[in-house]
């Protein structure tokens, strides 16, 4: 099982802040391909968007980052704090 978080515009477009997926993925890329099958918004934002930011367990990650059961994976747009 993987915990997934969405922030800012991603959260709004997907209509959810978090979810748990009861499946295993070798890495973030596999998870993204799985989520992209849900429809156009998911594909555009997570798969085709070069600006998507990824964190695994609070560390910046990329599509090659491995994920294991219980990991927290977050997707969000470029940050704009400060």
């Amino acid at each position: 099982m993987v915990n997934i978080l969405y922030f800012a515009s991603f959260r709004e477009v997907f209509g959810q802040a978090q979810e748990q997926i009861p499946a295993q993925f070798a890495n973030v890329g596999e998870l993204i391909h799985n989520l992209a099958e849900r429809g156009e918004h998911w594909r555009e934002i997570l798969l085709e968007n070069a600006q998507v930011q990824i964190a695994v367990n609070h560390d910046i990650a990329n599509r090659d980052t491995p994920i294991k059961a219980g990991d927290e994976v977050a997707f969000f747009p470029p940050v704009t704090g400060g």
Binding site: F7, H58, F76, V79, G81, G82
Partner: protein, 153 residues
């Protein structure tokens, strides 16, 4: 694991109180540089009526502490502090404070600038603003990415 040097909070902060706290236990301080980021009432040509800041609890604090510790590795600093507000804010409100205390001014100027540049690109905060045109998420600025890159040179 409350880290008094990294605070993410809804409440406003008082600049004097924080700077005095920062230098109070460090006698060999000759310089303090404090950066305060505030809500501009104009962005991209539109009036900003309200701002809301969202963050990623847990990761935010970790990212800010990493940036702070990296600054302490690069420069000889006596102490440093990052406070970042979240939630709804109005024009002119304070958003962020970065304060650095050191013996000599160059270190304090450079380290505070470095912390702000990294915070802008590496700390998970997102701004939404309300204008007469409606609400919108603020776009990341290329200039912020470039500002961060210069420290890699």
């Amino acid at each position: 694991m409350n880290n008094p040097f990294v605070r993410v909070q809804i409440e406003d902060f008082d600049l004097s109180t924080e700077v005095n706290w920062l230098r109070e236990n460090h006698t060999d301080v000759g310089a303090v540089v404090a950066f305060v980021g505030t809500v501009r009432d104009i962005n991209e040509g539109d009036d900003v009526q309200q701002l809301e800041l969202e963050h990623y609890p847990g990761m935010t604090e970790k990212a800010l502490e990493n940036i702070r510790q990296e600054a302490h590795k690069r420069w000889h600093l006596e102490s440093s502090l990052i406070i970042h507000r979240i939630g709804k804010m109005q024009p002119k409100d304070q958003i962020v404070l970065v304060a650095v205390a050191s013996r000599h001014r160059d270190n304090a100027f450079e380290a505070s600038h470095y912390i702000m540049d990294y915070l802008k690109t590496n700390a998970p905060f997102w701004k939404k603003e309300w204008t007469p045109e409606g609400e919108r998420w603020v776009d990341a600025r290329l200039s912020d990415e470039q500002a961060m890159q210069r420290w890699l040179a």
